[in-house]
């Protein structure tokens, strides 16, 4: 009796194996990586079609699409990793239009020599995030670059979604008198990632806030369909996001420092490192701008959602031809909260 099993392929060694150039060559090794890792993890009816594209039914209404590349370093950080981050990041970009995110695509650039164990951990985290969010990854692509030409893994995700009727959320709709809200504690992601940087290494209990916000957005839109602006303050923090909106809408803004929700630990880490929490990245927070009469209702809806428990009204939109974002300091003075100059911290997402 023969001991050779027909059609047997030795499975990938996810314990000790490493990515090599054949995993991106289009040959059998690549097919195996796709089958045993990507398809197994993301499994859904669209991916199972095994085509170079995914076919799906198009919903009625206005669609939105957004793409986001992720190059965070380190790949694993307190509260998350590049995998779940790449799902949350794109879902949030889609959701900030008020849309319901439907599908994701994912492109991977892997570096030769990257441990398969780490890759598996990242893909499983990504798949978990996608399942939790109810937004499947329906198509993807993998490339491998030579050692030294990448940094482990880079992930680009694209998302599409559909905007409910009557919702018109856009960066140019901030009007003088509008209220500015944030959905929770600022700066957690940036501080969590920073704490692991080789040239910093400090210990903190802060976890990244990485999260998919479309559920929160759905509740907000249902309660207040006429939200004027939504945006997630990722790189560059709340300060940068508000400056972008101020310019788009040709308005100014006035923040109140003592109303900004910031954890003591984040304040302390920023104090120590000479950073300003207003410029530190978030990955599970949003800023919302709405008419003053809607603000209180919106705040209550946000606080009722687990991802908006610490939501707060932090300022108002004002008339200002210079489009300055200003802040009343807790100290009693006033200052400009300017665009970020240079790079506070590279490769945060």
């Amino acid at each position: 009796m023969s001991t050779i099993k027909p059609n047997y392929t030795r499975p990938l060694d996810f314990k000790h194996g490493r990515v090599d150039m054949t995993h991106g060559s289009g040959g059998r090794a690549m097919a195996q990586l796709i089958d045993e890792l990507f398809v197994a993890a993301f499994d859904n009816e669209f991916l199972r079609q095994m085509n170079d594209q995914a076919r799906f039914p198009a919903p009625q209404g206005r669609m939105v699409m957004s793409t986001d590349s992720h190059v965070v370093s380190p790949l694993f950080f307190p509260g998350g990793d590049i995998g779940c981050l790449s799902v949350h990041g794109t879902i949030n970009d889609v959701a900030m239009s008020g849309a319901r995110p439907l599908y994701l695509s994912a492109g991977f650039i892997l570096e030769e020599g990257f441990p398969l164990a780490d890759l598996k951990r990242i893909i499983e985290s990504m798949a978990q995030a996608s399942r939790d969010a109810g937004v499947p990854v329906i198509t993807g692509d993998t490339k491998v670059v030579e050692q030294g030409k990448g940094d482990g893994v880079f992930i680009t995700t694209t998302g599409i979604g559909v905007v409910p009727e009557g919702v018109n959320i856009s960066g140019e709709r901030a009007r003088p008198g509008d209220k500015i809200l944030v959905s929770g504690m600022l700066g957690d992601h940036g501080v969590a990632v920073m704490s692991l940087r080789e040239n910093l290494t400090f210990h903190t209990s802060i976890q990244s806030d990485t999260a998919a916000l479309h559920g929160l957005v759905a509740d907000m839109v249902a309660a207040v369909p006429d939200i004027h602006v939504l945006r997630d303050p990722t790189r560059g923090g709340l300060a940068t996001t508000l400056n972008e909106i101020a310019r788009q809408s040709a308005v100014g803004m006035m923040l109140h420092e003592n109303q900004l929700p910031i954890r003591e630990q984040v304040k302390a880490a920023c104090e120590f490192l000479g950073l300003d929490p207003l410029y530190v990245a978030n990955e599970g927070k949003l800023a919302a701008i709405c008419a003053p009469e809607d603000a209180e209702r919106l705040l209550q809806v946000m606080r009722a959602h687990p991802l908006g428990r610490d939501a707060a009204i932090v300022g108002e939109v004002i008339e200002d031809s210079h489009c300055f974002v200003q802040m009343e300091t807790a100290f009693g003075g006033r200052r400009v909260v300017d665009w970020l100059t240079g790079e506070q911290l590279p490769r945060i997402c």
Partner: protein, 375 residues
């Protein structure tokens, strides 16, 4: 934050502000210079100017170590880092400082040079230990606060027997800069600028103590109040200066008594004296050549001196002619008086030294105070 929030209390600030407003004599003006960039930053960031009466004016001094480093020395570093295999370690705010031909360390890094941002001189020593085959240069800058850690790094490198670690020393001295300003023609002869008093450095004074300022108070008859970098420290120091001026006193007072003594940190001073000695003259960006205003590494530590290990040419690179940094650093002009300010010279694309670091007078004003101009 314990020990921080206490010094940022808005209610107390209003109290002190009310005292300043009540005690400041409306018949006279109070021109107070805060020497340190740390104070400039606090004044801008917390909006302290909004809390002062119109006749109490703060003048931003030259105490930002990044700002006063001449472009020639930055160019030296840019050239040095082109050397194959060399690693240059520097503090983060040095990266964007413009050198010659629009270059900076950040741009050199983008072109492939190995520039590492470090938070401490000890990190540079560690990098040298980890890269024994490569030359590691620590680009040392700063006033008396950062000098002792550089001395420690040199001693550590010696103890470890490191052959690949040197220090490009650019440490400068606070008292020389203050003398230079007080002796400048605008103040001494021309009377263009009246400087009524000084807010003395915070962290520098923890090292050198309050004694070195006694000379200025006596010789130039200007009150000095040493203050911490928190906004309430600054407010309290302003009140103390107003009181001294009202009473016709010119003394050294210490608001920052929780950290500064009259003699300072004697151990740190000894360490600095062991490793460094005075340079005969050193160029300050915006201020020019100032005699005995900087330190160099002593002969017995010559093995750790970048200027002796490598060929470092003496370069003098003039700032843009329209740049008013020199006058701004001496308090003769304000940032908004400069034609370049906010137009071609911005924090993203600094032309002059005061726009380079967030502690620089122009950058602080640009980032935090522009709305006052606009209003």
């Amino acid at each position: 934050m314990k020990y921080i929030d206490e010094f940022r209390d808005g209610a107390l600030a209003k109290n002190i502000a009310a005292n300043i407003a009540r005690e400041a004599d409306p018949q006279r003006r109070y021109h107070l210079m805060e020497f340190c960039g740390g104070h400039t930053h606090a004044i801008s960031r917390y909006g302290i100017a909004d809390l002062l009466p119109a006749n109490v004016r703060m003048i931003h001094g030259p105490g930002c170590p990044v700002c006063v480093l001449p472009a020639g020395r930055v160019e030296n570093a840019v050239q040095l880092v082109q050397m194959p295999g060399l690693i240059l370690c520097c503090y983060g705010d040095m990266l964007r400082v413009p050198a010659a031909n629009g270059m900076s360390l950040l741009k050199a890094k983008a072109r492939g040079a190995d520039v590492r941002m470090v938070y401490s001189s000890a990190d540079a020593v560690k990098i040298a230990q980890e890269n024994p085959q490569r030359q590691v240069v620590f680009f040392a800058i700063g006033f008396e606060t950062t000098t002792p850690p550089t001395a420690v790094a040199i001693r550590q490198a010696q103890a470890l027997g490191l052959k690949n670690f040197t220090v490009f020393c650019n440490h400068v001295l606070t008292p020389s800069a203050i003398s230079h300003i007080l002796q400048s023609p605008e103040i001494r002869q021309l009377g263009v600028l009246t400087l009524d008093g000084f807010i003395g450095p915070a962290h520098v004074s923890t090292v050198i103590g309050s004694r070195p300022y006694e000379y200025f108070a006596e010789e130039f008859q200007k009150p000095v109040v040493i203050a911490g970098f928190e906004p309430l420290d600054v407010m309290q120091a302003i009140l103390m200066l107003v009181r001294q001026l009202n009473e016709g006193r010119a003394e050294v007072e210490n608001e920052f008594s929780r950290a500064v003594t009259r003699d300072g940190n004697v151990k740190a001073q000894q360490l600095v004296a062991e490793v460094f000695e005075l340079r005969r003259v050193f160029e300050w960006r915006g201020l020019g050549l100032i005699p005995y205003s900087a330190l160099r590494i002593k002969a017995q530590y010559a093995d750790y001196d970048t200027e002796l290990r490598f060929d470092i040419p003496a370069l003098s690179i003039a700032d843009n002619k329209a740049c008013k940094c020199g006058a701004i650093l001496r308090g003769v002009k304000r940032p908004q008086d400069c034609k370049l300010f906010g137009t071609v010279c911005t924090p993203d694309n600094p032309m002059g030294s005061c726009m380079v670091s967030s502690e620089g007078a122009c950058a602080a004003y640009y980032s935090y105070g522009r709305f006052r101009e606009a209003a």
